[in-house]
């Protein structure tokens, strides 16, 4: 009797203690959880959201949006539609004087010239029934379907048009999808170029980084510490400084060209063009990203036992076989981690290529920055960024299938 009571109490106490521990453990990770949520999950979610949602037009002109939705985009616009457009646009100004022009900016992205057409409407004081005639008296543009079709495209709040635009497709007023005109199509080309540059930089980093990491891992502690500092040194210098240093080195009157001319290898009139082209992009990016390749490889190579290679050699393997079949497979986790790190960083790079790459340094991140900073079309920027994110995740998934993420070792 006594013992059962004890047992029950004990179980209860134990459960309570475990619960307490669980709560404690949860509270300990809670700050990190909140941090990840606030700084990572929420921004990405809002990014994906903003790429498909833009309510400037529908918020300002709700009734007009409905009427535009019902319009077939071909027949002449109805008097009702024009009336609701004019009255709602005028009314929106009372809420906030900036709204009409903000709406005009959005329409202008589909139909150039809309900003000044909207201004006409805003400054005309005698707009009354019949609205259609009054508008066409302002400008014959209002008679044409183009500006109304543009409005029909931007009217829905939920829209796939930014995602289409991100892959060089355009949504028409009828809801069809047509390819972007040749002179404006650029995104697919840049997605391809970005992936190619990232792949090449990763390859060069791997080729250059492997021997260095090997040296670091197998040199004496004193030497390897010294070398490690040299590898890490660039990390303590600003990215811009490192990039600008490459400009000083590679430009026509730069250090490298001066040196080659001085030793007579090239003629003064035929200095090498190593700046503002793909060559400069690859050199500068490889240099900047190299430490991210070396460090994970170094930490993995450090743990590889030297006697395994020795054993292979003593059993009759040639040095190459011993390296390739015994040593190299053990470095895969580090190599894989380095490649993944460098590739993902390279995909998002834009300052370095923009500064040293000239025309060919135009990568997809430049376009994202362009729409963020210049056109203020944040929805399009979000859509392109989302596609880039999906692309990277797909590659990550592929990597996981081929190499296995559990085999990766970062440090």
């Amino acid at each position: 009797m006594h013992s059962t009571f004890d047992q029950k109490a004990l179980t209860r106490q134990l459960a309570a203690a475990e619960r307490r521990n669980k709560v404690k453990a949860f509270l300990l990770v809670l700050p990190l959880l909140l941090f990840v949520l606030a700084s990572f999950i929420v921004p990405i979610a809002s990014l994906v959201w903003q790429g498909g949602y833009s309510d400037t037009f529908a918020n300002a002109l709700p009734e007009t949006s409905k009427l535009l939705g019902a319009w077939d985009a071909r027949s002449p616009v109805s008097e009702d539609l024009v009336k609701s457009f004019v009255t709602e646009l005028k009314a929106s100004k009372l809420k906030d004087p900036a709204i009409p022009t903000r709406v005009a900016t959005v329409v202008n992205r589909e139909q150039s010239g809309s900003v000044s057409k909207f201004k006409q409407v805003m400054s005309a004081s005698d707009l009354a029934s019949p609205y259609k005639e009054k508008l066409s008296a302002l400008s014959s543009e209002w008679d044409k379907p183009d500006i109304w079709r543009a409005m029909k495209i931007v009217a829905p709040s939920f829209t796939p048009r930014f995602y289409f635009q991100a892959v060089d497709l355009r949504l028409t007023a009828e809801g069809d999808i047509k390819p972007e005109t040749d002179e404006n199509a650029i995104h697919l080309l840049l997605f391809g170029r970005t992936l190619m540059v990232a792949a090449l930089v990763t390859l060069f980093c791997a080729l250059l980084g492997f021997p260095i990491a090997y040296l670091l891992a197998h040199a004496e502690t004193k030497t390897s510490n010294m070398l490690l500092i040299i590898v890490l040194l660039p990390f303590w210098t600003s990215l811009l400084v490192r990039t600008t240093a490459w400009i000083a080195l590679l430009q026509q009157n730069g250090v490298v060209n001066d040196f080659l001319v001085a030793i007579g290898l090239i003629d003064n009139d035929h200095r090498l063009v190593m700046m503002y082209n793909m060559f400069a992009t690859l050199v500068a990016m490889t240099h900047v990203l190299l430490p991210f390749m070396i460090l994970p490889m170094f930490s993995v190579m450090k743990t590889i036992k030297a006697n395994l290679v020795r054993a292979a050699l003593s059993l009759g393997a040639t040095p190459w076989t011993a390296f390739w079949q015994v040593y190299f497979p053990q470095t895969i986790p580090g190599l894989g981690a380095g490649c993944l790190l460098v590739f993902i960083l390279a995909v998002g790079y834009y300052i370095t290529p923009a500064l040293v790459g000239g025309q060919s340094g135009q990568l997809i991140s430049n376009i994202i920055a362009f729409h963020m900073q210049k056109t203020l079309n944040w929805s399009l920027a979000s859509a392109i960024a989302t596609l880039l994110l999906i692309g990277v995740l797909l590659l990550y998934w592929l990597y996981n299938r081929l190499v296995g993420i559990d085999k990766m070792k970062l440090a």
Partner: protein, 363 residues
């Protein structure tokens, strides 16, 4: 002793508190501009006299143009900038987007000659949300040591790679470049925007740019063109006129400005919507755009004052030797073939033309 320490600490705490209250009362204005020689000219001509007059302090910071930061501040309702130096076209599009406070220009001080502000400012200098300080010019310049015989004199020479070999520096933006291409292709200054408003005109501008595409080095910040010229990376480059003037005069660099085909743009003050020091910002703008400060600025940089009443007051450069008048974009001798950037045109066509420009560069 312990007790004494405690009292001392308390006293210290009270003192700190009192000081922070005092600091909060002395007003502080955050003014954002483009940096370099340009910000220096503003500091000397506007900021220092205003601080001396009002006793308030100004915190200056640099940015690289664009409305992204203003938009982020306004949308997050955490506006830390009080006054921003923006180009007219951005002042207008920012005003359209509701990013800037409206400014009633009629309340600005009269000119020193008594002219009302609306008459005193040159046409186009006043917009709904922004008041212009100066007009600068987009010009092109060359390194005179690079061309032995004939020197470039016309905008068409910029596109003549045979006669004037070497790389060309151009700003990575559609604005300015398209107008320049058309003028080089023989379009009269007065017709540039009429032609550029048509599909054929845009095609024509791109076709002209295409002829030098392989020789272009793109720049983005105003400080780059003089560097590109000085390092010999390019033989000719477009630039803001003041950026070529300063090294040529103060460092004797062999830079020569070609005024043919110059494109004038206003720089303006605007107040981000929701600024916590709006009244103070307005006071600063009214002060700095009055006749004398505008004329004083020309002592430090060759940009033309936006008020007519300032022009007669423009004198010599800060070295007290160089006459500023011949270096001003507004100097009649420099105005032979000049356009003023059409902000209305760019408000309508910015998206369309930039989209095409960006994809043209990328290919």
């Amino acid at each position: 002793m312990k007790k004494w320490n405690g009292k001392l600490m308390l006293l210290g705490a009270v003192g700190t508190l009192a000081m922070s209250v005092a600091a909060a009362e002395a007003a502080q204005l955050t003014v954002i501009s483009w940096g370099g020689a340009y910000t220096k000219s503003q500091t000397e001509a506007y900021q220092k006299p205003w601080m001396a007059k009002t006793g308030n302090t100004i915190v200056s910071a640099d940015y690289n143009g664009g409305l992204a930061e203003v938009k982020a501040q306004v949308e997050s309702k955490n506006v830390t900038w009080d006054v921003v130096d923006v180009e007219t076209s951005e002042a207008i599009s920012g005003c359209n987007d509701g990013l800037f406070e409206k400014i009633d220009a009629s309340k600005l001080p009269k000119g020193d000659n008594g002219a009302s502000p609306m008459d005193d400012f040159v046409p186009g200098a006043i917009t709904d949300c922004a008041i212009s300080t100066i007009a600068y010019a987009n010009v092109f310049g060359y390194d005179s040591t690079k061309f032995a015989g004939d020197k470039p004199t016309k905008v068409a020479d910029f596109f003549d790679l045979k006669k004037f070999p070497g790389k060309r520096g151009l700003k990575k933006e559609a604005k300015v470049n398209l107008e320049m291409a058309l003028m080089a292709d023989g379009v009269a200054a007065a017709d540039v925007y009429k032609v550029l408003a048509t599909k054929e005109g845009v095609d024509r501008a791109f076709k002209k740019l295409e002829t030098i595409k392989g020789s272009i080095v793109w720049w983005e910040a105003g400080a780059q063109p003089p560097q590109l010229l000085a390092s010999g990376e390019v033989t000719m480059t477009t630039a803001y006129n003041g950026r070529l003037f300063t090294p040529a005069v103060t460092e004797n660099k062999p830079f020569v400005i070609v005024w043919d085909g110059q494109q004038q743009v206003f720089d303006t003050w605007a107040i981000p919507k929701g600024s916590k020091n709006k009244d103070l910002a307005l006071d600063f703008i009214a002060f700095s755009t009055s006749t004398k400060p505008l004329a004083d600025q020309a002592r430090y940089i060759p940009y033309g004052p936006a008020r007519k009443s300032s022009a007669p007051l423009v004198g010599k450069f800060q070295d007290d030797k160089t006459d500023m008048a011949p270096h001003m974009p507004t100097n009649p001798a420099n105005m032979g073939n000049a356009i003023v950037q059409d902000v209305k045109f760019w408000a309508d066509h910015y998206d369309e033309l930039n989209e095409r420009f960006v994809s043209w560069i990328g290919k």
